[in-house]
Amino acid sequence: MNWNKDIDEIKQRRKLAKQQGGKEAVKTHHAKGRLTIRERVDTLLDKNSFDEIGEGAGVPAYNEAGKLTDFQPANFILGFGQINGRKVIVGGEDFTVRGGSPNPAGLRKSVYTERLALQYKVPLIRLHEGGGGSVGGTNNEKDRRPLGDPVFSQSRFVPLAETLSSVPVASAALGPVAGLPAARLVASHFTVMTENAAVLIAGPQVVKRALGHDMTKEELGGPQVHLASGAIDNLATDEADAMVQIRRFLSFLPDNAWAYPEKLACQDKADRCEDMLADIVPTNRRQPFQMRKIIEAVVDKHDDGDGSSFFEMSRKYGPSLITGLARLDGKSVGIIGNDCMYYAGAMTAAAAQKLRRFVDFCNSFHLPIVSLVDEPGFMIGPDSEKAGTIRHGTAAISAVLQSRVPWASVQVLKAFGVAAQAHFGPDGYVLSWPSAASGALPVEGGVAVAFAREIAAADDPAARQKELEDMLAASQSPFPRAEGLSVHEIIDPRETRPKLISWLRLAVAAMQTASPGPYLTGMRP
């Protein structure tokens, strides 16, 4: 006697599990232009680095002689792997089995993913395509078990929430993602979706029945909807691009909250000064400029020398504020900048929520923040009031002022009103360009209101208004602020990169004298 029969069955089960939902289901899936979960994992990870967990989980079928004839694998694939030589954990639904709607073993594996990430403190990546629970449940009639989890079991949402404070989490929507997988998807620091993906709380049929809307799943939850809603950060041109974006995102981050980000060798010169910065801001304040060009001129060039290291996140959500990751002197930093092409860069409710989330994210993984300031204030008007901008904006300011990472602010142009506070962190390093203007209110709006009587009483009201505006504009100049040391330096814009790098070297060395750990905050407005 020996174990050969059982050893053969292990092989047989593994072979059957790799067939996923079967040849036909895989063919149908490919015909939709989509990769299977196993192909996705291979695209994401370093070559041959996937180390699967729970390969044997699933439901076997036997013939009358008791011989194994089939094996339906758990429809969630899970395992460790490597990205650029660093350990990660990756999981995702197998859409070819039950359309990704969890079978019992699949559900267990999916719930276990977050726990493993917490246990081994490694970055977590989820590749989603699948639905939530079925009203019929996950059991067949014949193997019915007691309903629900025991009352003493931990909710599966506890580790889902805890991962965000502990390890970097990046998720992709690569097809229809609904219900529980959609909730997992957004419980991430970075989310990306492909053109033909849709993210839904409930699908078209449920929506039609309840609300009467006749909409496709793309209309309900396609990229047009969720890049603007903020549920999804970035769009990917295809699945390969989604994986490239996830790898790039993780390259800026430490493995967990108990470590600092790695400094890379930097090929780009620390004293590089770009001439275009000297006149990128128009002297006519009615004319806009491109903040992204300033960011790209200041941060490190990309490793391969092509383009900049700036990796923008959530561009379409709250677009008056730019957020993203970059390298400066080889170190990871979070970048914030106003985009005056959208409402002069004003802080909308969405921009405020984007800012708060981004600042908390940078604090969670010890990324210094560089803020390029052109803030005219909170967005005004009826839509902004209805959106509750004042509360979201004040919450963002609280997040900024509770921030514990090194913070530098470069005042490029405007810094007005309460919202300006959202760009200056505690003990921050403050540089001012000659174009900078600060105050309670921009002169153009404020003078007509504050001096209404005086202007009306003047012989030439228009001339008096102009005179007052010129006088007050002079008081908003950065020079008196530099004289009073209310900024560290007023600089030639070309000096921005060298100045920031000198500061960052000091600031990171000081930060790293303490042991890092998770970032927890209290109540905010």
Binding site: R285, R286, P288, P319, M341, Y342, Y343, A344, P442, E444
Partner: protein
């Protein structure tokens, strides 16, 4: 191809004429929004077949500005 405004504002100046061949990023109109002059540009190269607005019009977020082909 529909060109929509990403912001609210008023039409300050119409720059491009109907029938013009546009390159990507060529300016179609300039909106005045929050006291700034914000261009609405051609997202791709093509012919500007129709303008749906006039100077002085108030524009809502997402409003159709021009049609291109």
């Amino acid at each position: 191809m529909q060109v929509k405004s990403e912001i609210a504002g008023s039409v300050w100046k119409i720059i491009a004429e109907t029938g013009a061949d546009m390159a990507a990023d060529d300016v179609i109109i300039i909106l005045e929004s929050m006291k700034m002059e914000i261009p609405v540009v051609a997202p791709k190269a093509g012919k500007l077949t129709q303008l749906h607005i006039a100077e002085g019009d108030m524009i809502a977020e997402g409003q159709l500005i021009a049609t291109m082909e």
